[in-house]
């Protein structure tokens, strides 16, 4: 057993001062265009209403700056960006989903600052929140698209059912299919945010056998040749921090943040659940909760890998920002990660309470148990074949030798 060694300093270097100055200048330019200085903002009024002080707000901005991976000099800009963000027109469209993302963001008893900012965002249209209904609501949508053409952010929640020419989801008295609706909203948007796993990858509606032929927003827009930049914010539900952080980045820099291979912002989805998990030490030590009946290990907070945690396959920052005003998150609460921010998690991560190696459900080819079964049967068949071939060879050789000894003269000694 080797003794403890000091960890080597990380190779991650702080931002170069010149780079930082460039970024700061960029942020200042964008903010100046959006927010006239010294203007009383809706945000301040909302903060007063909730009994929060300016000091709370700046403290939040400091945390947010660090979460976004920006240098401390950005704290003031992030605070101003939050104020500017409240002027950004946003159209939120509900699609094939459970509305869980909206609910998780809005139905909180003690809203944190992320939630307050979401509340005061200039939501031009949100079918679940607005007072208007029916044709009146559709008129508001059409008006908002017209008024803020090319300027608004479209946030979609839920997947697009394209099967049967879109009849699985229609809205309004004219029965407009969701496919037309998404095309109409996304075409004139400045950015598209896919909030939640359903919007990002199709999520639960897309799970096999996918009767509605649901697909994620990005895939749908690509098929329809609409080139509005899409930012995926998967998770079920996506946390307020990740939505607000992404909007703040869009406001600060006026461009799409750095995205990973699945179009998720790197600052939020750059590392796996597993990499920042509070139970990672238990994983490396081999300290596992063996089953749900293993109460003593559960109480000690051992690693949940063997009862189905999919943290090693899932990129997200749940363990850092947490849910419900930063109170807790699944693994802290004693349940493994189900991998909700990965594509097709309902098919690839089930069963949720066994390791992925035990995957016994569909699709049949892509599971360990199928691979093991096929592999073992193949090995058995090969073994039988080998035995048969070996016996055959022995018989054949014996026959050949007898024939040879009858027909040819005795070998010379």
């Amino acid at each position: 057993m080797s003794s403890y060694e000091e960890p080597k300093p990380s190779k991650l270097q702080p931002l170069h001062p010149a780079q930082e100055a460039l970024l700061l200048a960029e942020a200042d330019r964008n903010l100046a265009a959006l927010l006239p200085p010294q203007q009383e903002s809706r945000l301040n009024r909302a903060l007063d209403k909730h009994g929060l002080t300016r000091r709370d707000f700046i403290a939040w901005a400091t945390v947010m700056t660090a979460t976004l991976g920006l240098p401390p000099a950005f704290t003031g800009r992030v605070a101003r960006a939050a104020e500017a963000a409240t002027r950004l027109p946003i159209i939120w469209q509900e699609l094939q989903s459970c509305t869980g993302n909206s609910m998780a963001l809005l139905r909180t008893a003690n809203p944190g600052l992320d939630n307050i900012i979401l509340e005061v965002l200039s939501l031009e249209y949100h079918p679940a929140l607005m007072a208007a209904a029916g044709d009146q609501a559709k008129a508001v949508l059409a008006g908002s698209i017209e008024k803020h053409r090319g300027q608004y952010i479209a946030i979609f929640e839920g997947s697009v059912p394209v099967g049967q020419r879109g009849i699985f989801m229609t809205s309004g008295s004219k029965g407009e299919p969701s496919t037309d609706l998404v095309r109409r909203i996304a075409r004139d948007a400045k950015y598209v945010l896919s909030a939640g796993t359903c919007a990002a990858y199709g999520g639960i509606p897309k799970a096999g056998p996918n009767p509605t032929e649901a697909m994620g927003i990005k895939e749908f827009l690509r098929d329809n040749n609409i080139r509005t930049p899409v930012i995926n914010l998967p998770a079920c539900p996506v946390g307020a921090t990740n939505i607000v952080g992404t909007i703040l980045e869009l406001v600060l820099f006026g461009r799409v943040p750095q995205l990973d291979a699945f179009d998720r912002p790197v600052w939020a989805y750059g590392t796996r659940i597993h990499d920042k998990c509070e139970r990672r030490g238990n994983f490396d030590a081999g300290e596992f909760v063996q089953s749900w009946a293993d109460i003593s290990s559960l109480k000690k907070g051992f690693c949940l890998y063997k009862v189905g945690c999919k943290g090693p396959f899932t990129y997200n920052n749940c363990g850092v920002v947490r849910y419900n005003q930063g109170t807790s998150w699944p693994i802290q609460a004693g349940h493994g990660c189900v991998g909700c921010s990965e594509p097709n998690f309902w098919d690839t991560m089930t069963p949720f309470h066994q390791p992925v190696a035990a995957r016994v459900f569909s699709p049949p080819v892509l599971s360990d148990s199928t691979a093991d079964r096929v592999g073992l049967w193949t090995m058995g068949a090969v073994a039988v074949g080998i035995a048969a071939h070996a016996v055959g060879t022995m018989v054949r050789s014996a026959l050949e030798d007898r024939k040879a000894s009858k027909t040819s003269p005795e070998p010379k000694e």
């Binding site: 490396d284 991998g339 594509p343 390791p355 080998i386």
Partner: protein
């Protein structure tokens, strides 16, 4: 024709060089260890009394993977880029590929395997039989799959190291396969191909060594096998 008469003395021929033999046995050890530790990582069962067993086993799995990558790269380099020597062997393996399209070779070779002919067919332009050549192509394809998926899976554990870099390079593959959980499954399936290959490989070598009186099994230790006296077209 390998020596048909067991009573006559045989001529030996130096076939496998020192590096070939060493890398063969290193690969045996690596593949056995990688399979065993891979099964363990998927379903750990040791008690935590052995402190940090999961960490050590995973680390040694990844380390063995790097060795397998190195050896496989060298072998693939040899296959494609080695200059042909005076003897039939390394350096001419790409051109030996035409045995795959030689129907007479297929017929002779399958007749030999199904015991319909006694003599081992030999070819003037190839060291490998057609089925053997195909089997090695499948072996190397599954090695490539297992290594590429392994690099993707190792990347988050060594994000500041070489695996982190290769993981970035292989991101499009990760996306195409649909995330880490699926990458892991393909890693697992490729391992099964390697295991089944190994089983068949060991039997075929032992069988050919005895039936063909060719001493190929001994050749992977000593380097010498029985000379094919008269290669036929």
């Amino acid at each position: 024709m390998a020596n048909p008469n067991p009573q006559e003395p045989v001529r030996l021929h130096y076939t496998f060089g020192r590096f070939t033999r060493a890398s063969h046995w290193i690969r045996v050890v690596l593949i056995v260890w990688l399979s065993v530790s891979g099964f363990y990582i998927a379903n750990p069962f040791l008690t935590p009394d052995l402190r940090f067993d999961q960490l050590y086993i995973r680390s040694l799995h990844i380390a063995a993977g790097w060795f397998l990558l190195a050896i496989t790269l060298i072998r693939i380099y040899e296959f494609f880029f080695l200059k042909p020597g005076p003897k039939l062997g390394l350096g001419q393996e790409v051109s030996m590929g035409r045995i795959l399209f030689d129907w007479k070779a297929w017929r002779d070779q399958l007749a030999f395997y199904t015991l319909l002919r006694r003599d081992h067919p030999t070819y003037i332009y190839s060291n490998y039989g057609p089925l053997q050549y195909l089997a090695y192509i499948v072996l190397y394809l599954s090695l490539v799959v297992v290594i590429l998926t392994g690099l993707i899976l190792a990347a988050p554990y060594q994000s500041m190291g070489l695996a982190g870099w290769t993981g970035q390079l292989l991101k499009p593959l990760e996306v195409a396969l649909g995330g880490l959980a699926n990458v892991r499954i393909y890693h697992h399936i490729a391992m099964w191909v390697l295991i089944v290959f190994t089983l068949i490989h060991v039997y075929m070598v032992a069988w050919y060594s005895i039936r063909g009186r060719s001493m190929v099994m001994e050749a992977m230790i000593s380097g010498y096998k029985v000379d094919d006296a008269q290669p036929q077209k």
